[in-house]
């Protein structure tokens, strides 16, 4: 019920603010009545949030209604690949790395900067997906989330401050760690290499170091390990801040820490699917997504950190989005090289690290 009333409130706010907002943006592209605009996006709460925060603005400005092709990023990306001749989705939500990969693979198309009126309000650190030239951009960011640590303060008395704490012997078999194909894995490999005296160009120590971890469960998302945490089998985990914030709202006893070596920033974004008829409409959708109003709404729904400079989060919400971390506390990676190295790194993790994790 609470959700419904909030949605209604947002709708009302949207209607009231529409005129003021319309002035600051370009004219919405006109479309035929009954046009359905298909968004490929994660399901569950993410779909709900997009529907609630972007939907009303988008529909009232253009007349087009939103439809959602939902699923995990992997199947949705594979769908785009298989349907490149006749794609069915108009825009694609994914990690910045997936957007870069999609542009390279020719399934996503860049957006024209001149059609993105709100682009100037976007933080520079969020613009990780480049376009092929100065006139375009590969896709727009839609949020910043941070990969950090969460732990049970009842069971862990020595404070957690560093990524290196994951290797503490007492956490053997009590740790939930990213799975070998987690989106943050390339960053974690580099981090482990640095902890072990290596670097981004000297990764062998990193793979070795990772193999020394003793995770109880590998997670792709927090729901993979939440029941083990609830029972007390898992006492410390690596996870996205927005999910840790959700756990806190569900009364999990979990304390969040941004490690001193910095949390790992993750930029998720939206890209335009190549080969669809309504490019202007898609650009308008992107522009709406990075607009201040949608950004605030997404933060409220998902605890996703906004990427629009104008958005000021109220105090309690700021504590939940990137768990109060400042941008300076986070480490940003260029997604471009990750696209190239991921297959080989995943393979190394699978064949060199996993056997050790499984052996225990």
């Amino acid at each position: 019920m609470k959700k419904l009333s909030r949605r209604t409130a947002l709708k009302l706010a949207g209607a009231a603010g529409a005129s003021a907002w319309a002035r600051s943006s370009l004219a919405a592209p006109a479309v035929n009545k009954g046009t359905v605009f298909t968004v490929s996006v994660w399901g569950g709460v993410t779909q709900e949030a997009v529907e609630a925060t972007i939907g009303p603005e988008f529909t009232s400005a253009t007349g087009a209604t939103l439809a959602f092709d939902i699923g995990a990023q992997g199947p949705r990306y594979s769908k785009l690949m298989a349907q490149r001749a006749s794609p069915t989705a108009d825009v694609f939500f994914g990690t910045d790395e997936a957007l870069v990969a999609g542009l390279k693979a020719g399934i996503l198309a860049p957006a024209r900067r001149k059609n993105l009126a709100n682009l100037g309000e976007v933080e520079d650190w969020a613009l990780t997906v480049k376009g092929p030239d100065a006139e375009t951009i590969g896709g727009v960011p839609y949020c910043l989330i941070a990969y950090i640590l969460g732990y049970n303060p009842d069971q862990i008395k020595t404070p957690i401050t560093s990524w290196a704490d994951l290797w503490r012997p007492e956490f053997a078999g009590k740790l939930a760690f990213a799975s070998q194909f987690h989106s943050m894995m390339p960053g974690l490999v580099i981090l482990a290499a640095e902890l072990a005296g290596g670097s981004a160009t000297n990764l062998d120590p990193g793979f070795k170091k990772l193999a020394e971890l003793r995770p109880a469960k590998l997670g792709f998302t927090w729901t993979d390990w939440s029941s083990l945490y609830q029972s007390g089998d898992v006492v410390i985990a690596t996870e996205f801040d927005c999910y840790l914030a959700v756990m806190q709202t569900q009364d999990y006893k979990i304390k969040t820490v941004v490690p001193k070596e910095k949390g790992l920033a993750s930029i998720d974004g939206v890209g335009i699917v190549k080969g669809r008829p309504n490019v202007e409409l898609a650009e308008f959708f992107l522009d709406t997504t990075i607009g201040a109003k949608a950004q605030l709404g997404l933060a409220e729904h998902l605890f996703h950190g906004p990427i629009n400079k104008k958005v000021q989060l109220p105090g309690d919400l700021k504590a939940k989005c990137y768990c109060g971390a400042e941008i300076a506390d986070l480490r940003f990676f260029d997604p471009e090289p990750f696209v190239a190295v991921r297959p080989a790194w995943t393979e190394r993790l699978t064949t060199e690290v996993l056997p050790n994790w499984a052996a225990r």
Binding site: M1, Q47, D69, G71, S78, S86, M247, D251
Partner: protein, 261 residues
């Protein structure tokens, strides 16, 4: 001695049921738990999570889509299984060994692979994901099970009844309508039901074939779990089982259809 054996038998059967149904009962119990997280220690009884489903229309439309896909694919699979089973039994054993192996082949390919291959195949024709592709893979998926159940029926079917009908001058259509189909009815219904259930709950085979207009219930549930897990999901599962249970009872009572005697 005999009493001990009987007691041991009952104990064993009870243990098997506890083991098989236990996880489902646990999930159902958590659906009325007033705690916010799933799973949680019991904190009080609430129907809040059932009420919460009402705010998620996507579960309802997906349930309807899944029902449609299950119904159509099961009907096609059962019909195809009937004609195939008939042909196999009528034609004798030597040949049916090879053919029935072939007809069982969908069980041997990983479903996620069938799903992706189907999408690529459909892509060749500009078709892609959607209702038609979903029907196709769900039909294929159900075919071995339908065939299994139909063949059981034919195993005890007396073909001389058909021959008697032919010799009385009835054509094939009449014979099927009056003799064969009525005798096979329970097997056909069971085959349909089995296919229906397996289609309704299947996730991997639909993985790449859903689109914005056609999303199945398992996919919506899976997508929900990706970002959140709460007792509402347990409530959704409980509703599915209860609705299916009621449907089974109605079928049994009013249509005299039983899954297993």
């Amino acid at each position: 001695m005999k009493r001990v054996a009987t007691a041991a038998g009952w104990t064993y059967l009870t243990a098997v049921y506890v083991f098989v149904i236990g996880p489902v009962v646990f999930v159902a119990a958590e659906s009325v738990n007033s705690a916010k997280a799933f799973p949680s220690a019991f904190a009080g009884v609430t129907l809040h999570w059932y009420q919460a489903i009402l705010a998620h229309p996507e579960f309802f439309s997906a349930a309807w889509t899944s029902t449609l896909i299950a119904a159509v694919s099961s009907a096609v699979a059962t019909a195809a299984a009937f004609t195939a089973g008939y042909a196999l039994r009528r034609r004798g054993r030597q040949e049916s060994a090879v053919l029935s192996t072939l007809l069982a082949s969908p069980l041997l390919v990983p479903q996620i692979v069938i799903s992706l291959a189907m999408l690529q195949f459909a892509g060749l024709f500009g078709l892609g994901a959607g209702f038609a592709s979903l029907i196709a893979v769900h039909t294929i998926h159900g075919l071995p099970f339908a065939l299994r159940l139909v063949l059981t029926g034919f195993a005890r079917f007396n073909f001389s009844l058909e021959d008697a009908s032919f010799s009385l001058g009835a054509g094939r259509v009449t014979t099927w309508r009056e003799v064969t189909l009525p005798l096979l009815r329970p097997n056909l219904i069971a085959g349909f039901t089995f296919c229906f259930i397996l289609s309704f709950v299947n996730l991997p085979i639909s993985l790449f074939l859903t689109d914005a207009q056609t999303t199945t219930l398992p996919l919506v549930m899976f997508a929900y779990i990706e970002s959140r897990i709460d007792p509402m999901l347990a409530a959704v599962a409980t509703v599915v089982v209860v609705v299916a249970g009621i449907a089974t009872l109605v079928l049994e009572r009013y249509l005299k259809i039983r899954l297993v005697e």
